[in-house]
Symmetry: C2
Subunit: 580 residues, 2 copies
């Protein structure tokens, strides 16, 4: 009987039957008659509901915004924040609700009851999806300048941020705190297992590695293990919040390595801001890992840290904040140029932002074929020109120019790349660019120019952002998991420029291909063009294409310890991608 | 049809049906007649067999040693080493074998076929069990001095070591190399999940920790995460083999943390032998972990390293090689003294071996109540006496005595503790000890005095070793997983002496209790006494007893950040133990 509460509830299908029973037992059945108000807008919420019979309507300010039937979940936001009855629910016909008090769920979560933990995860996920949907709906209606709509958009923005923030905290604390778990990959149940996994049998692989160090790839996790290392000096956009506070981001990065490339990654937060001492620590950790992903380290120290660690270590060292964006923006650039028919040697490129990401991306564009003299970097002080007296890494790309401001620099430019701050690129500046301007506005969450504003300003703009809700998202996850996968599988000693270029070309090539079922993405109507310059983050083909290209480049340039057969290796990755 | 090959095979019951089918398809059915020799002793092996019908006998030098029926696996050692047809197999009645070439299995293992990997694991485990069984059988027959038996024991010893060594290497390389995998503990399948696990949602826990550092226990894995850290200077008994070669041991240690206390542990091998620099590195890693288990670091540096790291860090630091043995030997000592009725203040104790384990154990015995003046340490140079001029940590326990050799020191002593070298304690020395002598001979695999020799020498000896095949094994796994579990659950700032003492007393108390079903151990006839002074390593009650006691001591002594309710906490651990 109790099971039937969930039987039509799509959001809860993932919960095992016994967990559904635990949750159902917390609630009570409430019958309703047509016209009855089940949830009042603006009230405080102490329960959520599963609609078990009958249809209801959802009202905002008296206007119907949705209609729902059996299996629907209502009022689930109350689990994350009490002040969230943002709409009313009214019965359309006789029916019944199963009413579950949020306090009962929270109580079970504290007791680490799996059913409650899974229910929270399920409803959190549902809420994120609903907020996303509502955001998209509002955005689509925001075409005109209706002040009421703008206000309701703003109000919704505040509510959304509050709910997501509450959920983000609850998600991290749910069940076992944090996001990583370390498990045995071999059978270790019995004393016989442990006698080879540990003493005495474990001495054999130790001796084999001692005799021949590269055997560590055969006998330890090293070959599939990435160290995600930070000192917490430039975490997300939050600045120097320190090593301890950086841990959630680093665990998240490790999760991405697993999710997208089935690599094992472990995060290290190192309380050491002195670059020389930090370098010594990272280098001493060499025997532990197969590769090092440096993360969220402030510039300019990050340049020296990556360079020195790469030089001293015999494994790949890669500062993702620098190269991740560069590699994907590079792919986007090649595809955009292909579409508009401009040769890379002739384009003029302007960067807004000359930190780790901007500077390295600019440098990488030169490697891709942009002429040094056609490139201008700008930062908060305007154009980085020769003689400005920066006296640091910026000198390398300081321009020999009379231009001094971003507005002056972008006039007639073919490409704008922003890795800086919201709304830096004004509509006027955009208008002053050449025909078919390419604009990569990567500041997050608010780009250097709003996507819709840019398209309203000029219909010939080719636009990419860092956001998932517009076309052409430049998301590092398209590159770093696969670059490491290829480098580690080839047991590479480094990630060199040819390997990065191979990644860029593989990413660019994939976007030009039809989106087949193999890709496994939701959007199946994607066709190479202005709105699809870059593959989607969840495209399953990225694994075999990018990792395959990177491993080949490693072999070709002599940094691979292991020569993989390219066709075999790609097939192996294709199989892996389909099981992930 | 094919499935039936495995249907009576007990060893293969763990393999899923589809994997059994894959393996069965590699082989062919061979029929035999009574008297036919199926395997010749001394031949090379290229296949292994599953007996599908009929009975066979196993012969060694023409003597029947076993009889087997349908479902038996024969010749499986050939998978690990070709030269291992150590016995013959002859048919007793008409029947059939399923014959599987080892090369076919090895081929599939290279292709990472799960069926082949699981088959190798299954047969490796079976082989270890069979070798163990054979060893026990031979040991039991070795009572007399039959030279043929001694020779065959020696030959078997060589074979066993070779096979275990081959298997240990294969086990570590099987499938995904190494023993650890890092997985997401939260749902991360969808873009909605990733938007809280990573950017933008992840900023919330970062900011919360930045504002209040202890929130890292709520929002990151830190609170259940142990760093297993070494510099590879004293690995097992292999010496200074370096950081890279130590990795298999450290991964194994992490596996033990998981297996016995459901803690997540990650191994770090640090290429830094200078103690001061090593200390700096470990201390900088503080924000990453909830506790640090130092491992396989040579003495005397290990003392300074542990002391300094403990002093500088706000999390537990514990050098297991020092304290693990001490805490369990302490429990064994208390129980042995209880049995023989000697007060701890009156006993005379002699240590053989004054390295990290010996020295710290001696010190700990003083904490437990042994009088400083009743304690003598010896090392390769004999008694550590005042004025010997050691000029190092040994001065602290140098004895004010005229005695100079181990033989002189043990005369009349009540307790001998060996953490040194094989066969150091001669039967004559043992005879010279007091009545009911307590002998902890912990050198591995060959103790300071052989268990049987000791009992043959004196029937009143109370004996413990480091070996699993004799009673009273002193195995660190009885202590460290649970000590860390208790310390981490209490969010302790350190592991102090009262916490170690609490562990010792909890371990000692458990051995005095009846072995109930809750213990989950194979040996159910254990009764507190000379042959059962210390709980078995797989006793499930250790988790709640030891961790509970340690967490209580942490709270009592003010080093706990979190005050756990003792009864609640124990119940939680009891539940956890039953699910592991």
């Amino acid at each position: 009987m109790e099971r039937s509460v969930f039987s039509e509830c799509e959001a809860c299908q993932g919960l095992p039957a016994e967990e559904q029973a635990v949750i159902a037992a917390l609630g009570t059945e409430v019958h309703f008659t047509p016209g009855e108000v089940l949830i009042e807008e603006g009230s405080r919420g102490g329960s959520f509901f599963i609609l078990t019979a009958g249809r209801v309507e959802v009202l905002k300010a008296g206007q119907r915004v949705a209609e729902m039937g059996p299996g629907a979940i209502l009022g689930e936001m109350a689990l994350f924040n009490e002040d969230v009855r943002t709409s009313a629910v009214r019965a359309l016909e006789p029916g019944a609700l199963h009413c579950i008090p949020t306090a009962a769920i929270h109580q079970l979560v504290l007791q680490e009851e799996p059913a409650a933990i899974h229910m929270m995860e399920t409803l959190g996920r549902l809420m994120v999806r609903r907020l996303q949907q509502r955001d998209t709906d509002l955005l689509q209606r925001l075409g005109g300048d209706d002040p009421a709509l703008v206000r309701s958009m703003e109000e919704f923005g505040v509510l959304r941020r509050r709910l997501l923030s509450d959920w983000a905290l609850k998600y991290h604390a749910l069940g076992k705190p944090g996001k990583l778990e370390i498990v045995a990959s071999k059978s270790v149940g019995t004393a016989a297992d442990l006698s080879v996994a540990y003493s005495p049998g474990v001495a054999e692989p130790c001796l084999a590695i001692h005799a021949e160090p590269d055997r560590s790839y055969d006998y330890t996790s090293r070959g599939h293990l990435v160290g995600v290392i930070t000192n917490g000096t430039a975490v997300l956009g939050l600045g120097n919040i320190g090593a301890a506070a950086a841990k959630p981001v680093m665990e998240g990065k490790a999760v991405l390595f697993k999710r997208f490339a089935d690599l094992d990654a472990f995060d290290l937060e190192i309380a050491e801001t002195d670059p020389a001492r930090f370098i010594d620590i990272v280098c001493a950790l060499g025997p532990t890992f197969g590769g090092i992903n440096l993360e969220d380290i402030r510039s300019p120290e990050c340049f020296e840290i990556e360079r020195e660690c790469s030089r001293r270590m015999e494994i790949p060292v890669f500062h993702d904040d620098q190269h991740g964006t560069a590699i994907i923006a590079g792919a986007g650039l090649l595809n955009a140029l292909e579409l508009v028919g401009k040769p890379i040697e002739e384009i003029r490129v302007v960067f807004s932002g000359a930190g780790a990401a901007g500077f390295t991306c600019a440098r990488y564009f030169v490697t891709l074929g942009v002429r040094r003299e056609n490139l201008i970097l700008t930062d908060v002080r305007g154009v980085v020109y020769q003689g400005r007296g920066d006296g640091n890494y910026l000198e390398e790309l300081a321009a020999d120019t009379e231009l001094r401001t971003l507005a002056e620099a972008v006039r007639g430019a073919d490409v704008f790349v922003g890795v800086s701050a919201p709304n830096i690129l004004t509509p006027d500046m955009l208008r002053s660019m050449s025909a078919d301007p390419i604009v990569f506005a990567l500041a997050n969450p608010t780009p250097e120019i709003d996507y819709r504003v840019a398209l309203q300003t000029r219909r010939d703009v080719l636009m990419a952002t860092g956001r998932s809700d517009y076309p052409n998202q430049i998301n590092n996850v398209i590159a770093f998991p696969y670059i490491f996968r290829g480098a580690l599988d080839a047991r590479a000693r480094s990630i060199n420029e040819p390997m990065k270029l191979a990644a860029t070309h593989a990413i660019a090539a994939l976007a030009r291909e039809p989106v087949t079922a193999e890709a496994g993405v939701e959007e199946t109507d994607l066709v190479f063009g202005r709105e699809y310059l870059i593959p989607k983050p969840f495209d399953r083909r990225l694994l075999s294409r990018v990792s395959g290209a990177v491993a080949e480049a490693a072999t070709r340039t002599g940094v691979a310890r292991l020569a993989l057969d390219p066709a075999d290796y790609r097939r192996r990755l294709e199989r892996l991608a389909q099981t992930m």
